[in-house]
Symmetry: C2
Subunit: 380 residues, 2 copies
């Protein structure tokens, strides 16, 4: 039956968004056709891949039985259930230990602090008192965060400037577990992608720099505009983190470069939006190296193919324009690489991305911006 060839790599991917879609493509190149655990027929990956099993993530155990190796495109999982599946002998990559570090930010902060990794001051927030205690020590603004990774597009971070604002957020989101962090003067937001095999052999990709717009990643540039010492420190930090949490597959380490140096912001135990650029800019994409790593196959080279690369996310606007309707204009931008995910447009939804390589960042950015604007039916 389809997907059973070759039988020796029966890979299952939990989730069927664009990350799963691109991971599936990387596996197919290698002759491997992963199964997917999708939730909806129109999930991005389910449209492009056969062998999608449709079910709530709670059907994980049944899905795991079909697979030799289980991997994930998101961390929104029942960690208790996942631990049971792993303890029952299933090959779960990354394992529960890694996924918990990405999913439960309070747990992650405690481990990192304990191990001497650079993290901001933080505290659990069970109610207003915890928050005011924290603010009295560290002052406003305070960064209020949801402890657990949320759904795509779901807001999980609030920068509160005052006690009143804090009370408003708590009143609105008190149902979620929250934590507080001291506000940082952020110079840059960096991402280091690490691909790591069981046993610990790992490689990192050149550092990416992210810029945000309306809370969504807007633009990724490689190389990040940081000095050599910061670059070396960031890659070493990311590799140490991957070891710390026994990461297998791609671990995306989001870092803040602050006036006081690098601190760890977030972890993602999967291919990351900032790594889409590796499809064209590296000999081995983050997706292929994720597949290689979770199957314990040798990793491919991670260097940059071009002096500069820029990826711009194509994010749904209020007009709900389908970028597929403007493909003819976007593809007319010579040299831009257009990726669409087949998703139904919604405001704030990631519908695709555009990558351009260049001799310098400005040249690459100009191409990527023109193609992205075209997809939205705008002139850049």
């Amino acid at each position: 039956m389809p997907g059973d060839f070759p039988a020796l790599y029966r890979l299952g991917i939990v989730g069927a968004g664009q990350i799963a879609r691109m991971t599936h493509q990387a596996a197919v190149k290698l002759g491997i056709t992963p199964r997917l655990l999708a939730e909806h027929l129109d999930d991005s990956a389910a449209q492009a891949a056969p062998e999608a099993m449709f079910g709530h993530p709670d059907t994980l155990a049944a899905f795991a039985d079909l697979c030799e190796v289980l991997t994930f495109e998101h961390e929104r999982l029942d960690l208790g259930l996942l631990q049971l599946i792993e303890d029952s002998g299933a090959v779960v990559r990354p394992g529960t230990k890694t996924i918990r570090a990405a999913f439960d930010k309070l747990h992650q902060r405690r481990v990192l602090l304990n191990r001497g990794f650079p993290v901001p001051a933080f505290a659990e927030v069970r109610g207003p008192d915890d928050l005011f205690d924290f603010a009295s020590t560290h002052g406003f603004p305070v960064v209020l965060k949801s402890v657990r990774a949320g759904l795509p597009g779901q807001r999980g971070v609030w920068i509160v400037e005052s006690a009143n604002e804090a009370l408003r957020v708590l009143a609105e989101h008190g149902d979620r577990d929250l934590m507080a962090e001291s506000f940082q003067a952020i110079v840059k937001e960096l991402v280091v992608l690490v691909a790591r095999r069981p046993g610990g052999f790992a490689r990192s990709y050149p550092i990416a720099e992210m810029t945000y717009q309306d809370g969504e990643v807007r633009e990724i540039r490689v190389p990040a505009a940081v000095g050599h010492p910061v670059a070396v420190q960031a890659r070493e930090l990311a590799l140490r983190l991957a070891d710390e949490f026994d990461a297998v597959g791609v671990l995306a380490v989001e870092l803040f470069l602050t006036t006081d140096g690098l601190i760890v912001n977030e972890l993602a135990a999967r291919p990351h939006n900032a790594g889409h650029v590796t499809i064209e800019n590296s000999p081995t994409s983050q997706f292929e190296n994720h597949v290689r790593a979770v199957l314990d196959l040798p990793l491919g080279p991670t260097w940059s193919n071009a002096p500069a690369a820029v990826t711009i996310n194509v994010i749904g606007g209020l007009e709900n324009i389908d970028p597929a309707n403007n493909l003819v204009d976007a593809l007319a931008v010579e040299g831009a690489q257009v990726h669409l995910y087949g998703k139904i447009p919604r405001p704030g939804r990631k519908l695709g991305h555009v990558t351009a390589l260049g001799d310098d960042i400005e040249q690459a950015r100009e191409l990527a911006r023109r193609a992205e604007a075209a997809l939205h039916g705008r002139r850049p």
Copy 2:
């Protein structure tokens, strides 16, 4: 339902081998999920793509009704049926006129001769007399050819050195329509890929050079080792041929460089084995440009990314080793790009290919050969 997003590009691909598999991937990148007309559940593309409809190519008409644009991965079609479908208003790209030129070599030769393209002397062979007449004029050896494109791995060319040998081949293959061509002193075998949109805008890829082994393409190198005048002439020739046959999509023009210059060998109205190298070596692969062209979207750049690129086909040997079993060794060859098609190994069957880019051909070939040898469980 899956595959219906976006509705505006409902593309159907007839055939489900590796060409369809890689074409499907190129379409998915653009947010398009083509339907496939497959014949068997374990067809290479059917394993990796949903929306496969299973049926004999004779079910073409029913399949065409599901698609807005119909394209093909092979020319083994009922041209009468295809003409009917095209005449009924279906968008068939390439059209019957192009496919006939690739499918019916006698027809193709007559058109080319008529239009002044360089072709060898040829004649229809309805029986021994036709062959002997031809040999008496042009002498032995004579190239005996099946008029119609055969199945993959099916022999369609015989170089006969004598009347007795000719009679043997005719006795064995007299059921097939045959033609004779004068034997050429071949210096090199070249392939020029042209991507052409409806209306005639076209681009050609840098010329590829093919080497054969046991009648199967063994190795493809880009650039071909030919002088500038030959390269220019070859690309012009290919573009004129694409115009002549109103090609839409990729037209692969196989040329012989003989001691008397270039002559046309074969045409393929689809992405071609010699174009797999474009996946890594060009900003736009032959598969993406085929999809763009048949959907009348702007073509992408076709230049080479590297000074040299070599692709080696992974062809099943007598031992029936599944290269997927040796993936771990092949991926250990740093920088080699391994593509497997998920096919059940059979002697002579194309199971995958390996591409390597390099600063010169020797460097690229060395990498590709090491990875290919590893897939066969050999040391290079």
